[in-house]
């Protein structure tokens, strides 16, 4: 039996946020030296990709995902992925400042992070069934040393498949349409008689409240 949710104190939440963001803070602590210039070194697309995957993963682990945050991160991921897939065209800079040319994708860390995401997603309640089909279909779920050529675009292609399925899986978790309350089937239909009935009930309750208030003197007639 599930117990009642416990309200966490703000201090606990702060600590948790800091812990999850720690390793990013280590990488990107802004320099206090003002002479270094206004903008920090921009991250290459592959790092942004990893960062976005991490955000997605972190967002899903939260109690109830913030849909706006998720949608924006996913859309950004799509942009980065399509940009990385266009190896022949000039890379789209993540920031207006110039970036290094798109490096050869470091497949091992990418695979590791995606596999880790797969593994973690499979532990999330309710995604278990969907996740087993992922691990069967997606080559990346196999160990990295089974022949992933760094130069091939195949990993990105597999990622594309993964992302598409993964996105579906992600939003399915949020999609609670099957839980949508059917207590009021009249929601979309114009039903005059039920409205009158409900109106009648509503009037009774509010009128009773009003009468009670008058009796105890908090209302004047």
């Amino acid at each position: 039996m599930l117990g009642k949710g416990v309200k966490r104190k703000r201090e606990e939440e702060e600590e948790e946020d800091l812990t999850s963001q720690d390793w990013w803070l280590e990488e990107t602590t802004p320099s206090p030296n003002p002479e270094e210039g206004a903008s920090p070194a921009p991250l290459p697309p592959s790092s942004l990709f990893n960062l976005s995957i991490f955000k997605l993963h972190h967002g899903l682990r939260r109690g109830e995902p913030d849909l706006r945050h998720l949608v924006l991160v996913v859309n950004t991921l799509r942009r980065i992925q399509s940009s990385m897939a266009l190896e022949s065209s000039p890379p789209e800079p993540p920031c207006p400042a110039p970036v290094d040319p798109l490096p050869v994708a470091p497949d091992a860390p990418l695979c590791t992070s995606v596999s880790a995401l797969l593994d973690d997603l499979s532990h999330i309640e309710g995604l278990c069934d969907t996740q087993t089909s992922f691990s069967e279909d997606i080559p990346l779920s196999r160990p990295p040393e089974t022949g992933l050529d760094p130069g091939r675009p195949a990993p990105l292609g597999s990622l594309e498949l993964l992302l598409e399925d993964g996105l579906e899986g992600l939003f399915d978790d949020i999609d609670t349409s099957m839980y949508d309350c059917e207590l009021w089937p009249n929601l979309k239909t114009d039903s005059g008689e039920t409205e009158d009935k409900i109106q009648g009930q509503g009037l009774d309750v509010s009128e009773l409240d009003y009468l009670m208030d008058v009796l105890v003197g908090t209302q004047t007639l």
Partner: protein, 432 residues
């Protein structure tokens, strides 16, 4: 701008999540992360205490929402108050709507200065008397008592939102209001709590096709059939409820073409609209995205008529702001009573005002260190690069944990309320 009386709201535990003046400006309501509502009332002007004229003091405090647990989804529902909206005053009592992620409540705030005494069925302590001991009847009389302000929940509008409620808006007919979540907007009648009408639904048939969410919604201040809602893709849709029951097809569609020179991976995130507000006149709408505030004429859909840069120096920092999630912060924006000035918040406890007529703007800071009561606020300036002048602050020194997301402007006077994390600042513009 001066701070006549610095008001500190709550302890360091609870962050203010919404601020709203009522229609006369007499009352100011705040909601916080702990589900509480605190209402401040303006002191009546009196000849005896001229220096206290116009100050706001606590009028009522109540717990609006409690944390809940959704057993079906095994999720905790936060008690944080996302929005408060006042109803226009129609009798001696005040009414407001407050909402968390899932449930909207109508609260009645009323004063009690009389108490009935002389009940027959209970004694003065309130304990019930044994009916067998009652041999005479008397009529209870009302006796004066110390003023008590009590808040009672009059309606609870629940179970109508699958996703998180981001906006509520009272219609100008004063009979209905709407509540908007990430994918749907519902229309309610104040008297009916177990039924609402869905008027906008952007949920795709396949959730994998989801690319856009609703971020804010508001009714037109004068036309009860018109409302707008904004999206995470930087668009605004104006809908007319007379056109059809389900307003999935907009009447007007406002979108500014993307500037190709500013395109980046973060273009969509920074174009996501975090707030939309009609002007008091109803002629314009104002939108806030991550870096700018835009004013749109309802008669021109292809671009805004005015664009104001809130903190353009952050444009080169978008990578870092994406990393620390600040790029997802949702800033609100407000009009002044005459629609001539607009205001919005920024980081480092800065907030900005833009005069639409003179095109002048100012950056002010809400902090205890820099403003003593009755001191005049000093304009602040952010140094972008090069040599930093004295009193300027460099971009790298900005504190991104101090963000002003919520502000409010008195409906007719130059009094503003600024929420800085868990502190509330009230400033007045006294023209001497």
């Amino acid at each position: 701008w001066k701070c006549p009386d610095e008001t500190v709201h709550g302890s360091k535990a609870d962050i203010i999540s919404t601020v709203e003046f009522n229609h006369t400006g007499e009352l100011l309501a705040t909601g916080d992360k702990g589900g509480r509502v605190v209402i401040f009332q303006r002191e009546q002007e009196s000849k005896n205490q001229l220096h206290r004229r116009g100050e706001y003091n606590v009028y009522s405090t109540f717990q609006s929402h409690e944390p809940e647990f959704d057993y079906l989804k095994s999720l905790e529902i936060e008690e944080k108050i996302n929005k408060i909206r006042w109803l226009p005053q129609q009798n001696a009592a005040y009414f407001l709507l407050s909402t968390n992620d899932k449930t909207v409540k109508l609260w009645k705030v009323s004063e009690r200065d009389k108490r009935p005494e002389g009940y027959n069925l209970k004694d003065e302590d309130g304990r019930l008397r044994d009916p067998a001991t009652i041999t005479t009847l008397r009529v209870p009389v009302l006796r004066p008592m110390d003023l008590m302000v009590e808040a009672t929940p009059r309606r609870v509008f629940a179970n109508a939102h699958t996703y998180h409620i981001n906006s509520i808006s009272v219609n100008s007919d004063y009979e209905t209001y709407m509540s908007a979540d990430d994918l749907r907007i519902n229309l309610w009648n104040f008297e009916i709590t177990n039924q609402s009408f869905n008027i906008v639904d952007i949920k795709p048939a396949n959730m994998e096709e989801l690319t856009e969410v609703i971020t804010a919604a508001e009714f037109h201040p004068l036309h009860c059939n018109t409302f707008v809602y904004s999206s995470s893709k930087g668009t605004i849709r104006l809908c007319d409820m007379r056109a059809s029951a389900l307003c999935d097809r907009h009447t007007k569609f406002f979108e500014e073409p993307e500037d190709p020179s500013n395109r980046s991976f973060f273009s969509e995130i920074i174009s996501s609209i975090s707030d939309v507000k009609f002007s008091h006149s109803g002629r314009y709408i104002m939108t806030r995205d991550y870096l700018t505030v835009k004013v749109w004429d309802l008669n021109m859909e292809n671009r805004p008529i005015e664009t104001y840069q809130v903190h353009d120096y952050l444009r080169s920092k978008l990578c870092s702001l994406y990393e620390n999630d600040c790029i997802f912060d949702k800033f609100e924006c407000v009009w002044n009573g005459s629609d001539s000035v607009i205001m919005t918040g920024s980081y480092n406890n800065f907030f900005r005002m833009f005069d639409r007529n003179t095109k002048r703007d100012v950056t002010l800071e809400a902090s205890r260190e820099n403003s003593k009561p009755r001191a005049i606020l000093k304009p602040r300036k952010v140094c972008v690069g090069g040599k930093r002048r004295k009193d300027e602050i460099s971009v790298d020194s900005l504190d991104f944990s101090k963000k002003i997301l919520h502000t409010a402007w008195h409906p007719s006077e130059n009094i503003i309320a600024v929420a800085a994390t868990n502190n509330l600042y009230i400033f007045q513009d006294k023209v001497n």
